[in-house]
Symmetry: C2
Subunit: 96 residues, 2 copies
């Protein structure tokens, strides 16, 4: 699953609504999904977790799109391992 | 940027530390990065936003890996548009 394609699909699917809602309200929706992810991890099963991880990712990509960030470019910081020490496994403890 | 490759790289880079820390502490790190993303959106510039979006994504992928979720499988719910109405643009208002 390609992140650039996902961002383009999310823009085509929800972009008009996202721009109308704006960044602050979109951040609120993102946080609501983060809460649902917490509940799924703590008290629900695998299928519900898959759904909530996908919803958090979708709102994160929406928020990136609204703020002019290319999620694929962002993800490339981690393409070869740790962005701080460029090693995999990480040798610097940046993600402790 | 492929999500399955990103998840495999993050597992190779941080997996030992992630399993040692566990799900609850990892959720705390994820939330810390969400807070940094909020600050970057509100008060910082493009480069800082790219960094914080990438960090939130990395911790989300870490959390998925720790809880047995394949982020690429999760993202495929949105591959063709809205997972509720299967349309792009969305016709059902699921992401209002």
């Amino acid at each position: 699953m390609d992140l650039a394609a996902l961002q383009a699909t999310i823009r085509a699917t929800y972009g008009d609504a996202d721009r109308g809602r704006g960044v602050d309200a979109t951040f609120g929706w993102f946080i609501e999904e983060v809460g649902e992810l917490s509940r799924a991890i703590r008290r629900q099963g695998h299928d519900q977790r898959v759904e909530e991880f996908s919803d958090v990712l979708a709102w994160l990509v929406t928020l990136a799109d609204l703020t002019g960030v290319d999620m694929a470019e962002a993800a490339r910081r981690y393409e070869h391992g740790c962005p701080k020490c460029d090693a995999s496994p990480c040798g610097c403890g940046a993600h402790p």
